[in-house]
């Protein structure tokens, strides 16, 4: 009996010593979450990899691979064959079948590589490679052998079961979520912020997100857009918690009490303070924003200084040195672009001045802000009324 399986290879986790089983456990959970709706699967741990098997029916790679692909911590996916019968006769014929299915269209160069963890196996790895390679070569007429630069590497792995595969699909890499602590990302609904959250999550940081909702100035559609972005990000991270903070009253308070050209700076400072309080409550160690230096008025170094001055935790700005096109390219690759371009206004732009200040002085901003005696209570109230959604 042989069946099709998806072999999941993971990278850097393997180096993480004693915590390894925790991270593989998280990986299994993330995979399960993403593929559960596609059918009934086993996800089995097997010596440094995970094996996805379908219960009952044959696995449909075209449907499963896109679902597993985004999960951080996986470095490659290999659609392959698994068999219990490790006899060399069986391996030969399965290998031949596999190669015929894979490369019937033109001539190919190939080689066979064998790994053998079961050292009691009667043949050495090298002997298995030579035997199977010879058998496949003799039974197909469009193959030639190239041990240095082959187009196809036919892998045979002899473990508790035997695995045969040749295709290696590269994934996004990264570290499994949770291996590097937790951060809170500010999601606006635009193109940049989800890319920023994604970039940091990729390095194993568990991500929560904050969205500032300002009805009636921003609509339910705008809120749904951010929910959809969070849901998309959860495909990579396994899950994501989204805090939806009602910000209208605070924004109107600022509009009434600060110079209009500096409004955005005060607004962003208030957002940072709010996000930071949420981050502390959620035991996160940092904030993530989608700032790219110079992109809009508040993203000059002076602006970033004035905004960051309120932060006591590190603020990660992974897009700081990127051009818009570079950010767009990533957004397209990770599937957030089409959501981000839906045309709903976000809360940063609704009251924005025609000519906003581009070179705010932090000291001036702080002096004005010290007179905003009700600011803290507005923030408190906003946090109190925050809605939390989990994806």
């Amino acid at each position: 009996m042989a069946e099709k399986v998806l072999i999941v290879k993971y990278g850097e986790i393997a180096m993480r010593g004693n915590n390894r089983h925790i991270f593989t456990g998280k990986l299994v959970k993330a995979i399960r979450k993403n593929i559960d709706s596609e059918g009934d699967f086993y996800v089995v741990k097997e010596q440094g990899r995970l094996i996805i098997e379908s219960r009952g029916t044959e696995i449909d790679f075209d449907r499963i691979i896109p679902k597993v692909m985004p999960i951080f911590g996986i470095i490659a996916l290999c659609p392959g064959i698994k068999t219990e019968d490790q006899s060399i006769e069986n391996i030969r014929s399965l290998a031949l079948e596999h190669m015929k299915e894979l490369c019937s269209d033109k001539t190919y160069t190939f080689k066979v590589e064998t790994k053998r963890s079961d050292k009691r196996y009667p043949m050495s790895s090298r002997e298995v490679s030579a035997d199977v390679g010879g058998y496949v070569f003799n039974n197909m007429d469009n193959l030639s052998v190239d041990v240095h630069n082959p187009e196809i590497v036919l892998n045979i792995e002899l473990r508790n079961d035997a695995y045969i595969y040749s295709k290696l699909i590269k994934t996004f890499g990264g570290l499994p979520v949770g291996s590097s602590g937790k951060a809170v990302a500010l999601l606006s609904g635009g193109i940049d912020s989800p890319v920023a959250a994604w970039s940091v999550a990729k390095r194993g940081v568990e991500m929560e997100a904050v969205y500032f909702h300002s009805p009636p100035y921003t609509s339910e559609w705008a809120k749904q857009k951010v929910c959809d972005l969070a849901e998309r990000l959860a495909c990579f991270t396994g899950s994501i918690k989204l805090h939806i903070v009602p910000f209208t009253d605070l924004q109107l308070y600022l509009l009434d009490n600060v110079p209009h050209d500096k409004l955005t700076i005060f607004l962003k400072r208030a957002m940072m303070r709010t996000a930071q309080i949420i981050a502390e409550k959620e035991n996160a160690q940092g904030l993530v924003t989608g700032d790219s230096v110079g992109q809009v008025a508040s993203q000059t170094m002076q602006g970033l200084h004035a905004i960051s001055a309120v932060c006591t935790m590190p603020v990660l700005r992974p897009l700081c040195g990127m051009d818009k096109q570079e950010i767009v390219d990533i957004a397209k690759k990770i599937g957030t672009f089409d959501i981000s371009i839906r045309p709903y206004e976000d809360c940063c732009t609704i009251f924005v001045a025609k000519h906003p200040e581009t070179k705010p002085k932090t000291s001036v901003i702080e002096k004005i802000e010290s007179k905003l005696t009700e600011l803290d209570s507005y923030i408190e109230k906003a946090i109190e009324n925050t809605e939390v959604v989990e994806y």
Binding site: P216, T218, F351
Partner: protein, 386 residues
């Protein structure tokens, strides 16, 4: 909930919904079937078309069932262009049409057709003498919206029909009557209408239902080819359940049409008078309460962003529309109001309230009360931004 967005869509009548379900479950034969069950289904279609034909004064075999307004308009325009390819390539329309008319016409323009747009006045009425001057020997089609979806302006169809046919009897007169059917009296003979498009969900029938009236002696080509249904003019398995529901809603709309109009006019009047006497800097886009379609009230609120007002009202469970619902998620200014020479600032602040016979004066009063609270607040913010 106060639902003042009936020009976007309406609630399906329960009697029509019941009918739909009952037929789908119990009388589901294909009318094209040779069996007696097929004949039963066919009879449902025949009686549906009879109901509609009686309402608009045409023959029963001039009614073709469609999926709604967009299909109907597309069919009328492309079908006429193709059917009359030898007669000419000149088409006349207005700038206040629904996109379901404007877009197909743009496609024809890109295929070499010449398009003339009749101007409208600041209330949205077509300049009939300008229309007369535009009609030529090679004018194959005039397409004019019966009642406008954004402003409720109702054209003088009788006069327009007469002018067209006097100038060129061969010219096909099509009207998008999506906002008129169920609300206005329609007589296709008297109005000289050759093709009329209607959509079910605007008069309390299900979404996905609709019909075209196509006068028998004209040669409109089909849009959809296939199994030869509906005299080969519109292929696709017919839907007797939908036709029955459509006809039922149509019948209910016309049963007491004057009474309905008067009731709705009271709602509209109460709303407008409430707004006018409590809120400064407001104006109607379109004709007066007495003259316009009572089902639509389009109000320009100065120094308001209509989208924000819409969301503020939705928080109070009042549903209205900014521009036409079909394109309110696009950022562009209303092409209808632009054509009526409304200033961009006022278009930005224009809200469409649209009614049905199920709305009440007390709903209008509640809406006025909320507007009185919310408009000054929003204006204060909007005026600070300048």
């Amino acid at each position: 909930m106060i639902y003042f967005d009936n020009a976007a869509t309406t609630k399906t009548l329960e009697s029509s919904a019941d009918m739909l379900k009952d037929i789908l479950v119990n009388q589901y034969a294909n009318p094209a079937s040779a069996s007696k069950k097929g004949l039963e289904a066919e009879k449902l279609i025949r009686s549906g078309s009879k109901v509609i034909a009686d309402i608009i004064n045409c023959n029963q075999d001039e009614i073709y069932f469609t999926s709604g307004g967009s299909e109907g308009d597309n069919w009328a325009i492309f079908g006429t262009a193709e059917g009359y390819i030898r007669s000419g390539k000149h088409i006349i329309t207005t700038k206040t049409e629904h996109p379901a008319v404007l877009e197909p016409i743009k496609v024809l323009e890109s295929r070499g057709y010449e398009i003339s747009y009749v101007p409208v006045d600041n209330m949205g009425y077509v300049d009939i003498s300008a229309l007369e001057n535009l009609i030529r020997k090679d004018t194959i089609l005039v397409s004019i919206i019966f009642a406008n979806n954004e402003t409720g302006t109702v054209q003088d169809m009788e006069k327009i029909g007469k002018v067209i046919k006097q100038k060129n009897p061969e010219t096909i007169f099509h009207t998008d009557a999506v906002q008129a059917f169920g609300k206005c009296n329609i007589n296709v003979k008297k109005m000289n209408i050759d093709i009329l498009t209607a959509s079910g969900h605007k008069f309390h029938a299900p979404k996905g239902s609709g019909f075209n009236y196509i006068r028998n002696s004209i040669k409109v080509k089909p849009l959809i080819y296939g199994g030869g249904q509906q005299k080969g003019q519109r292929a696709g398995t017919e839907n007797p359940a939908m036709v029955a529901a459509l006809a039922n809603s149509a019948e209910e709309s016309y049963k007491n049409i004057l009474e309905h109009s008067e009731k709705v006019r009271e709602v509209k009047k109460a709303l407008w008078e409430g707004i006018l006497s409590n809120i400064p800097d407001v104006s109607i886009n379109g004709d007066s309460i007495e003259n316009a379609n009572p089902y639509v009230l389009n109000v320009a609120f100065k120094d308001i962003r209509s989208e924000v007002l819409l969301h503020a009202l939705e928080e109070k469970d009042i549903y209205v529309s900014a521009g036409s619902a079909c394109d309110s998620r696009k950022k562009a200014l209303s092409h209808v109001l632009s054509a009526m020479n409304v200033s961009p600032e006022l278009i930005e602040g224009s809200i469409r309230f649209s009614f049905s016979r199920f709305n009440t004066v007390s709903e209008a009063e509640k809406c006025v009360a909320e507007l009185c609270k919310v408009v000054p607040m929003l204006r204060r913010v909007q005026r600070m931004r300048r």
